[in-house]
Amino acid sequence: MRRFALVALMIVVSFLFFGMTIMHPIGKPILQDMDNYFITHAQEETGANNVVTSIVFDYRGFDTLGEATVLFAAVSGVAMLFGRRIRA
């Protein structure tokens, strides 16, 4: 069983290394239209120097709303679990 696990691990690792050799180079995306649009238009459209913030809070605001909702749900769960009065 242990030898089988070792062989399986080696196969997976060799596939990973093979994938690394034929991987697309980082920093040269195939589709660049959206990146170029954000870089050239984000400053004049939102007026923010930080393009990342303009994407997080403006272009992809729904995503941030979802994150805030997830945090709110987590806080509600913790408050429900620990906020009750514990009988002495």
């Binding site: 400053q43 007026g47 120097n49 930080n50 990342v52 809070f57 729904f62 408050a79 620990f82």
Partner: protein
């Protein structure tokens, strides 16, 4: 957990305002420098964690009220959704204040520039709203976990 030694308490007493100030700086300058609402709120909540570690949990529990924190959190989320709904004339999450000349309405030049705090429309307001929500939410989680373990110790 009892409170830690006098050295730790003094150092945390000196460092706490700087941690809070750095967190609020990150929140307010979210549209100019790296950072934003989430990161700044997490730093402010870590300041509260510093207080809980240095002083005792029961002492922090007397000062920081849970009701105040829940109010801050809910109002932050409501402010965020309300700002998103204010731009509903065009789309949801439309930046209606950008380049309008009102508050946060200055336009910015293209390219690398030092930046102006009075820009970016609704982005700083949304950053502040998310910052309030995150700081109150993470503070509630830290406080609740600390107090919950305190109660378990007391009943044993």
């Amino acid at each position: 957990m009892r409170e830690m030694s006098r050295i730790v308490r003094t150092v945390s007493h000196i460092m706490f305002p700087f941690v809070i100030m750095f967190g609020f700086y990150l929140v307010v300058h979210g549209h100019l420098t790296p950072g934003g609402g989430f990161q700044g709120g997490a730093i402010i909540a870590s300041g509260l964690a510093l207080l809980i570690v240095a002083y005792s949990r029961s002492r922090v529990k007397k000062v920081v009220k849970k009701e105040v924190l829940t109010t801050i959190e809910s109002s932050g989320l409501l402010m965020f959704i309300g700002l998103a709904f204010l731009g509903i004339g065009a789309t949801f999450f439309y930046n209606f204040l950008a380049n309008s000349g009102i508050i946060f309405g200055d336009s910015v030049a293209y390219g690398i520039n030092p930046g102006n705090l009075n820009t970016a429309g609704t982005l700083p307001l949304m950053s502040i709203a998310v910052g309030l929500e995150v700081l109150a939410g993470l503070s509630i989680i830290i406080l609740m976990l600390a107090i919950g373990s305190l109660a378990g110790e007391g009943s044993r």
